[in-house]
């Protein structure tokens, strides 16, 4: 891509919690103006990587460059400015529970811009209608469903028209129609605003639809980084398993326990219910 959108360069990054590394030595360049998808099994450290890139958790080693800035050595003020150019969707939305949907989305605008309330309202309505939530402006986050919270989180992440957009599993918890629409929305954002978009996901269909670049994590290391096409052509065993949606091959059945004996139950439900069959 030849655009002004910043690359994200990750060099020798080691991530972990409390001195225990989870993934070591990550090297990757997520291309500016494109969509990068970070794939990996559940619990392999995708969200942790995101938090490290955004300096929410201290990294255990290595460096991360957004454009030409090393974010670990960047001055506080400069990092503040950088943060205003970044939008982040958290895995569970992380909306402020005390504010309704409108105020949640309006918050960054109110804090960082000189826009008048009427202009703010206009922008917020526009962003909320992008994710199909324009009718829910005065709902509070705990009155929304999980998928709606996620979409609202995306609206908030987009409200400042950031240069870089990070999304932690935007499509998990959404139905196929909504996920497809969200994928299209991300592609449109990329095309119209040349945003650098980083999506964490384990949704293969969504990855197929949007990815320019893929980073696969697992087993405590980087398993793959490169274009989507070269990933689809790979013959690495684990990656193929992942891509073909196959479980681990096993000789014998995994279930080895005997069936739970009804006589160990504390309450004698057999007497009350009888057998749970049709007659």
């Amino acid at each position: 891509m030849t655009s002004s959108a910043p690359d994200i360069r990750i060099e020798n990054l080691t991530i972990g919690y409390g001195g225990k590394p989870i993934i070591e030595d990550i090297n990757a360049t997520l291309p500016g103006g494109g969509v990068s998808v970070i794939l990996g099994g559940s619990g392999c450290g995708k969200s942790t990587l995101l938090k490290n890139i955004l300096k929410l958790n201290p990294a255990m080693g290595g460096s991360v460059y957004l454009g030409k800035h090393n974010i670990f050595t960047l001055k506080k003020k400069a990092f503040s400015c950088l943060k205003q150019r970044i939008g982040v969707l958290f895995q569970d939305g992380a909306l402020l529970g005390a504010l309704n949907l409108f105020d949640n989305v309006a918050l960054p605008l109110r804090e960082h811009t000189k826009l008048k309330p009427a202009e703010i309202a206009e922008v917020v309505k526009a962003k909320l209608s992008l994710v199909g939530l324009e009718k829910f402006v005065d709902y509070f986050p705990n009155e929304l469903s999980g998928g709606m919270r996620k979409r609202a989180g995306l609206a908030r992440a987009m409200v400042m028209d950031p240069d870089i957009l990070f999304c932690d599993e935007p499509t998990s918890g959404l139905d196929p129609i909504n996920s497809a629409e969200l994928d299209e929305l991300l592609l449109e954002l990329k095309k119209r605003f040349e945003m650098t978009i980083v999506v964490v996901s384990h949704d293969l269909a969504s990855m197929q639809a949007i990815a320019d670049y893929v980073l696969v994590l697992g087993k405590g290391k980087t398993l793959f980084n490169g274009s989507k096409e070269s990933l689809m052509a790979t013959d690495d065993v684990y990656l193929r398993q992942f891509l073909d949606r196959k479980g681990e091959k096993r000789e014998s059945s995994r279930i080895t326990m005997p069936h739970l004996d009804p006589s160990v139950m504390r309450m004698d439900c057999n007497k009350l219910l009888g057998d749970l069959d049709n007659n």
Binding site: C81, F90, A94, L96, G97
Partner: protein, 271 residues
């Protein structure tokens, strides 16, 4: 090695003491830094006044009823007890002085602070703690909204305004309560009661009471916000349990700190 065993058991209490004091010192230092940052952000944050007004409503306005009730009954009890004690020496006339001085100097600021710890402080801890464990504070930070200036500084400012006012309300209603029990119920002289109130109270008493309430505002607010803000570092509980532990710690610690600083302030202010 057999020789090292007795040495170890002898040293153990000292090691324990050392560890405990280091922990306490570390925590005290962290709270001081937290306070410093909160004060810094009072001056540097935009729109702090609208947020402060919201907090004032919660900390101040909604505490009026409970503070009035506590003030009334505290005043009545003090009136009753002092009346019985004074009547043994036939000096019921000093009832007004005794009630006013004990309320304005001690009971007003201390009981207001302890009541507000329970009513407002605990909810500050719980609110900030829940925001911490549900990543809302991380989200604020990434939106480049400083969580200190968004959450803590308005609470500090609102506490600084509402604690002295509520203390004054407590004192006033308490004195009326003393009148109710000592004069209206037990039949003391009403004119003498108010004369004693007026002549016994000096400006030093009143300003000392206010000084105390301002210090308590800082102590309660900062201790409670601190416990909530660092819920995720707790070792005694994670998630919802961490928040509940943080709230308990915050309330206990605030009350103890209020009484400790009360002793220190009393010995400094009334020399």
């Amino acid at each position: 090695m057999p020789q090292s065993v007795p040495e170890k058991t002898i040293m153990q209490p000292f090691a324990f003491l050392g560890k405990v004091s280091l922990n306490i010192l570390g925590e005290a230092g962290a709270i001081c830094i937290f306070l410093f940052e909160a004060i810094l952000h009072v001056f540097s944050s935009l729109g702090i006044f609208t947020k402060t007004i919201k907090e004032l409503y919660f900390i101040g306005v909604r505490s009026i009823t409970v503070i009035s009730l506590i003030g009334l009954f505290t005043g009545m009890v003090v009136g009753l007890q002092t009346y019985y004690a004074l009547s043994k020496f036939g000096s019921e006339g000093f009832l007004g002085a005794a009630v006013a001085l004990s309320l304005v100097r001690e009971l007003g600021p201390v009981l207001t602070a302890i009541m507000l710890t329970g009513r407002a402080g605990s909810s500050m801890t719980a609110e900030i703690g829940v925001m911490r464990i549900s990543e809302q504070i991380d989200a604020l930070e990434l939106m480049d909204i400083n969580p200190m200036s968004y959450l803590v500084s308005p609470k500090l400012l609102a506490s600084l305004i509402s604690f002295p006012i509520l203390t004054a309300l407590f004192d006033l209603i308490g004195i009326a309560g003393g009148y109710l029990s000592g004069v209206a119920l037990l039949g003391g002289n009403s004119g003498v009661y108010f004369h004693r109130v007026c002549t016994s109270l000096s400006w030093e008493d009143i300003s000392a009471g206010f000084t105390k309430s301002i210090v308590f505002a800082v102590v309660v607010c900062i201790v409670c916000c601190f416990q909530g803000y660092f819920t995720h570092f707790r070792k005694d509980g994670k998630g919802a349990e961490g928040v509940s532990q943080a709230t308990t710690t915050a309330v206990v610690m605030s009350c103890v700190m209020v009484l400790v600083t009360d002793y220190i302030l009393t010995s400094l202010l009334f020399q």
